[in-house]
């Protein structure tokens, strides 16, 4: 009995981590059909936001109450990732709707940029970037407001403005960098650690012999809350109605007066923000580094594809299923269930896969088999929306 409960808990726990990581992607990829390879990097930004918030709390509130940081870190990691996602959608992805290959390449590029950004970001770099954005966009705005520039001159003026603000920004940045204090990278390429609050570090004893790690329980609760929030937002809010309408029939939604471009931006920001929350969640499990997103992006796509693209319930079931199977294989529970380590060929087969990495290999093999039988996943899209 105890083993069963522990097994189930551990499986569900792996599953909820998968789920919270995949939830944002289920919206961006599942509902909008955008293949965003920078999704993992949005997660990473959420994780670094958590790190920064925690350090802030430690500096200003002292060590006793620094544990309170999580209540600020959850909303802030959502907001930071959502804002970066919004900029990504407005700046890159909206020009590439309906062109999956270009989206794939562009977002991959963005993911590289974001990874390098956290490695080398310093006060000098931020100063330079801010100066550039202020000068270039401010200049464009001013020119657009006051001067009437003939359209054939537009490109020339924009290029000039770009070069000018680029030069000034470079000058500003390298000046700041003259001070070695300010030139030091904020995070550098090394991994950093987020110290969870004390009450999340221990275990919670359920009965004699059954203990659940508090951080795992917390992630399960957080995932449930995120799911509930997403469900209520999509089903009950005005923006949710617009999102559901636009993702099913874009042209008709526009004909009904729905601002489709705005809806795209909101949907993408929501998915990105959820990636940020996932980034917060994984800081409870391990250290934070620039490559954090890479470790999770494949899992996230896997969950969405197995669940059936466009189906949130499918993602939930897929995540839990994959989690439980991974745990059953990786922990050697299968071996024990089949009766000891020295059984027949079947037992030694499962024994071979009874490590975390080999279990992953096995899960991938199973998923490939599954997709041969059901190429559209657990819940294939039905009816007219299947055409898209």
């Amino acid at each position: 009995m105890n083993t069963l409960i522990t097994t189930l808990f551990n499986g569900v726990s792996i599953g909820t981590v998968l789920l919270i990581v995949a939830l944002g992607l289920a919206i961006v990829f599942g509902l909008m059909g955008v293949i965003n390879l920078a999704h993992g990097e949005l997660m990473m930004l959420g994780a670094y936001t958590t790190y920064v918030v925690q350090n802030g709390f430690k500096t200003y509130l002292g060590t006793e109450s620094q544990g309170l940081y999580i209540w600020a870190a959850i909303p802030l990691s959502f907001v930071v990732a959502a804002l970066v996602g919004l900029a990504l959608e407005r700046g890159v992805i909206r020009f590439l709707y309906g062109r999956p290959l270009e989206t794939l390449l562009a977002t991959w590029g963005v993911s590289l940029i974001l990874r390098q950004f956290v490695r080398s970001v310093s006060w000098g770099m931020v100063g330079g970037l801010l100066a550039f954005c202020g000068l270039f966009f401010g200049g464009k705005w001013l020119l657009g407001k006051s001067a009437r520039i003939p359209s054939y001159r537009q490109n020339l003026v924009t290029t000039g403005l770009f070069l000018l603000s680029g030069a000034i920004a470079w000058f500003v940045g390298s000046n700041i960098n003259n001070d070695p204090q300010l030139a030091r990278p904020w995070f550098s390429a090394r991994n950093v650690d987020v110290t969870a609050p004390g009450w999340l570090q221990g275990s919670i004893r359920v009965t004699a012999g059954i203990q659940f790690p508090a951080s795992r329980l917390f992630i399960i609760v957080l995932t449930l809350l995120c799911l509930l929030g997403v469900y209520l937002f999509l089903q009950k809010s005005a923006w949710g109605l617009r999102i559901r309408s636009v993702t099913q029939n874009r042209d008709m939604s526009a004909c009904l007066g729905i601002p489709t471009a705005q809806v795209d931006a909101v949907t993408f920001a929501l998915g990105s923000g959820l990636a940020g929350v996932a980034g917060f969640a994984v800081t409870l499990l391990g250290s934070v580094g620039p490559n954090l997103g890479v470790n999770y992006i494949v899992d996230a796509f896997m969950v969405v594809v197995v669940g059936g693209v466009g189906n949130l319930l499918g993602s939930v079931i897929a995540a839990l299923g994959i989690g439980i199977v991974t745990y059953l294989l990786g922990s050697g529970t299968m071996v024990r269930l089949l009766g000891g380590a020295d059984g027949g060929a079947v037992v030694s087969f499962f024994d071979f896969f009874a490590t975390t990495s080999m279990a992953k290999v096995m899960v991938f093999a199973l998923i490939i088999l599954f997709l041969q039988v059901r190429p559209a996943g657990l819940f294939p899209p039905k009816g007219r929306s299947a055409e898209v």
């Binding site: 005005a238 109605l241 042209d251 008709m252 939604s253 526009a254 004909c255 009904l256 007066g257 929306s385």
Partner: protein, 252 residues
Amino acid sequence: MTQTTTLPNPAPVQAAPTLQISGLNVYYGESHILRNVDMTIPPGKMVCLIGRNGVGKTTLLKTVMGLLAPRSGRIDYQGKSLLPLPTNKRAKLGIGYVPQGREIIPRLTVKENLLVGLEAKANQKGNPLNADVPEDILQLFPVLKQMLSRMGGDLSGGQQQQLAIARAIMSRPQLLVLDEPTEGIQPSIILDIENAVRQIVETSGMSVLLVEQHLHFAQQADYYYAMQKGGIVDSGEASQLNSDVIQRFLAV
């Protein structure tokens, strides 16, 4: 909103036409679909566009809605050009659209499909999901009343057509654009739809642009335009529409 009063007007006011299309040329890639199309829809009037399959009727309506961009020509709505506006802003100005093929949002309930129609309403505030479907619209289409919680995609073709019209008038538009509302629908339902459209026009005074193949329905209009190979080849009072004209422009 300005045309809803039906006070007797002895001297006709020179109001801008609800829709004025002039010299419109539309292409799909390099194939020239609409050629110098001119059309006028006066306020409160119903205009019917007839023509064989594939002459470009749907193309014209999609261009009015902004789903296609013309290469040249003008489209003016109440005296202002529609061309710089995106589709959703045109809907907000008061153009309700019932497309060919109905385009019901499949995984929204019938009620949600109707409430989405409120999006184009000029002064709509708050969450449309908390609103109710107005009684007059449910009375026009009684079939919808028992189906409010069904998925839109699960309705039959005829029911979907009625839903599409009901959805388009949720925002109380001033111009209703209907693309073959009777296509593939059994005769008794055609009569229902026809009556509903007539009632809408009589009670609200909205202008209508109707694409229709059925003579009986087409005769409900005030004016007709006939299209051939992407150009307008004939027009006049709809009362002159008889089997002779139909023979010329519709029969294959």
